[in-house]
Symmetry: C2
Subunit: 433 residues, 2 copies
């Protein structure tokens, strides 16, 4: 930016917004040493004015309507931290774009939904649109892929992108506790929301994956092209079998370039315990990337929280004030929309299937026949008789050789309808990272 | 850069130079899609023209004198891959700077020695001077610290920065083999040089640490302010004791902000096996960074080799062609030269000391008295009697509580002069990362 004084409007004063506001107020000299400019918050907007008494809002204009903030003469740059794919956040961004004002946002849902429109506008008008904070806050993964790995043809991206899920899976594995107990504990500690479905059903991971995939492979993010499976169905039985087989369980976002196009999946995966992603515990995020020149790369850091997210927002702010403009996808030429997404059912991989079946003679024969009919080659099939039975079901655990995902799904449907299969089967990807 | 065609001169056609040359020749459309420009290699320079027949040098000017390459009208940008802190590489860079031409280099020794002069010039004249390839090739760690973590006050940097050393230490630990055998094996495999001293004595790590520390803390790199200890003195005894105590051994470059200034050390360190750096094996590099906002962060990737280093060079090239200019230390204002380096002897830490002593009564008492006289508080002292003795010495292993590095060094000198101490003592830092 050309100006020597940059006037900033912040919309949203939740955990991240308040932290960002305070950061800018308390780092005047620091920011000037890095940008050569004076950065001042001139306007803020949030739901309830009474709620933010702990912030020094005296010299700042309070805007009841966040969208109008972008139109003010005393706002040069907008930081959007309200959230929500539409509504006020979208109106604010539309207004900022129409005025050609730089935007910093952490709003993955909005980007995931409206990227096409936004990217076209910012590319045409050369408006800075920065969203490092939208994925894995404390890891500058967008910059790393878009600039640090800019010379590479990326072949795959594997991310642990949701701290809540990783905390739950880590606790289940380390303390041998069931999903519901750990979820309750995570809610008590503030690591999980009262309504946790957005996290544990994989939606949040999918939003973030859509952005990483877009940058890695150069396409427009599209949520509906991602196959999404959450962690709700994982039981302590799965954790124990994974452990026995030498694997850990992680909810991964996976984007891979295949001969048929880009495949994008969010799903619980079994990884060898020796894989670097297996040692990423608790609320940490991590992204493992393969490229043709840099080879294998791993980045680990805090994914969420006020401070880690503020770190990403301020990095974007300094970049913009230093005049560092870049297309959201790192490209200069028009993004080609022709990337073909490989139908997920064609994906080749190894799979884990856990069934709860009636404890009676011939069950294994019946299951094996279904799998054979779906052309699924078995690597192992384990039936343990439980010593203390609470009912008359026993678990059967199957691992497959390299096989077709579509065939596995079809087999699961067929297995579900067998009278001996007592509960919906649970499936996970096995990755040899 | 303003021009639409960027003419590039490459000096040095070793592994990295040849890879970079071929990359640019083979990625014309790719580079144009990312920069909007045509990038062409117009001139090269290397020692022996006859040697490079496998490269397509037909349309490229061969320069016998690399320094003159920078002065040519058909060279807009210089990539320096010759190496050496002075001589031809320095002359080339001086010439490029005097013409105001952007420079990309992988030359850590040169930066480590001449940073003051170069940084002042490029800052005054706004010349792009990029050196991502000088540290941990496949990890864009300079960009990560300088831009991704730009909003943070960094408090510490811990790096596994030399693949040769990490390969040797990994093999010693995993295969229980002595240093000399593993070094020989590494040389046979091409992982270690015929003269390995630059790597195993910690000089290479120190060059890289000086650069990372400078960027993390905003000072001019100075090699002579780094305390350097290599891995030559590590024996299988140390590896075994570390294992027993629950630690792995890594050669680390450490830069820390303390109340008395920046402390910079290259030394073999004992890390808990559960620490994320402990799981970085073989030729991989890794950097662990703590900052006040982003918290803990880890980056892992390939540190060396033609392709990984080319990845870093091309990232710099794309950045420069996109017009991304940044001061080498990420600051706009003048770098203050007043950072006080804490004398290393004031460093507080825990230490491991291994002695080989005469197998006789009273030895432990004698050693303990020396340590007491140097105010060193012992955490543990272990003397194992060897079952199969090759001589009349036995190892004594000591770990200390938090203590003063200077006191430990003084104690080591005193211990060395005891008649019962048969070989120079070996000391390592213990880190609780």
């Amino acid at each position: 930016m050309q100006k020597n004084i940059i006037k900033i409007g912040i919309a949203g004063l939740g955990t991240v917004g308040a932290e960002t506001f305070q950061y800018i107020q308390n780092h005047q000299a620091f920011l000037k040493s890095r940008t050569g400019k004076d950065l001042i918050v001139t306007a803020v907007s949030a739901r309830d004015k009474q709620k933010y008494r702990h912030l020094h809002l005296n010299d700042v204009t309070w805007c009841d309507n966040p969208a109008e903030m972008a139109l003010r003469d005393d706002v040069d740059l907008v930081i959007e931290l309200m959230g929500g794919a539409d509504g006020a956040a979208f109106d604010l961004i539309q207004n900022a774009l129409s005025c050609g004002k730089p935007i910093i946002t952490a709003n993955k849902a909005l980007i995931s939904k409206h990227a096409q429109r936004i990217f076209e506008k910012v590319n045409a008008d050369k408006i800075a649109f920065a969203f490092e904070a939208s994925v894995a806050g404390g890891i500058p993964i967008i910059k790393t892929i878009r600039e640090g790995f800019a010379g590479n043809k990326i072949t795959s991206v594997y991310g642990i992108l949701n701290g809540t899920c990783n905390y739950i899976l880590t606790e289940m594995a380390q303390k041998n506790m069931p999903f519901a107990t750990v979820l309750k504990d995570a809610q008590d500690k503030g690591y999980a929301e009262a309504d946790p479905s957005f996290d544990i059903d994989g939606i949040d991971t999918a939003h973030k994956l859509s952005i990483l995939s877009a940058i890695a492979f150069g396409h427009i993010p599209k949520l509906d092209e991602i196959e999404i499976q959450g962690i709700r169905a994982i039981t302590d039985l799965d954790i124990n079998y994974a452990d026995q087989l030498g694997y850990s369980i992680k909810l991964l976002g996976i984007a891979e370039e295949t001969t048929n196009g880009i495949s994008q999946i969010v799903a619980p995966c079994m990884l060898p315990k020796t894989a670097s992603l297996s040692s990423v515990h608790g609320v940490f995020n991590a992204v493992f990337i393969k490229g043709d020149y840099m080879g294998d790369s791993l980045s680990v850091g805090r994914g969420a929280g006020g401070k880690a997210t503020t770190s990403a927002i301020i990095a974007d702010l300094i970049d913009i004030c230093r005049g560092h403009f870049i297309h959201p996808l790192g490209q200069i030429t028009q993004v080609e929309a022709k990337t073909i997404f490989k139908p997920i059912h064609q994906r080749q991989g190894q799979y884990y299937i856990r069934l709860l079946v009636k404890d009676e003679i011939g069950v294994i024969a019946e299951i094996s026949a279904v799998l054979r009919d779906h052309k699924i080659s078995l690597k192992s099939i384990i039936q343990h008789y439980q010593t203390e039975k609470s009912d008359d079901t026993v678990p059967v655990v199957i691992t497959t050789h390299e096989t077709n995902y579509g065939d596995v799904r079809a087999a699961l449907t067929a297995l579900s309808s067998l009278p001996v299969v007592m509960k919906p089967p649970h499936m996970m990807h096995i990755l040899d990272l």
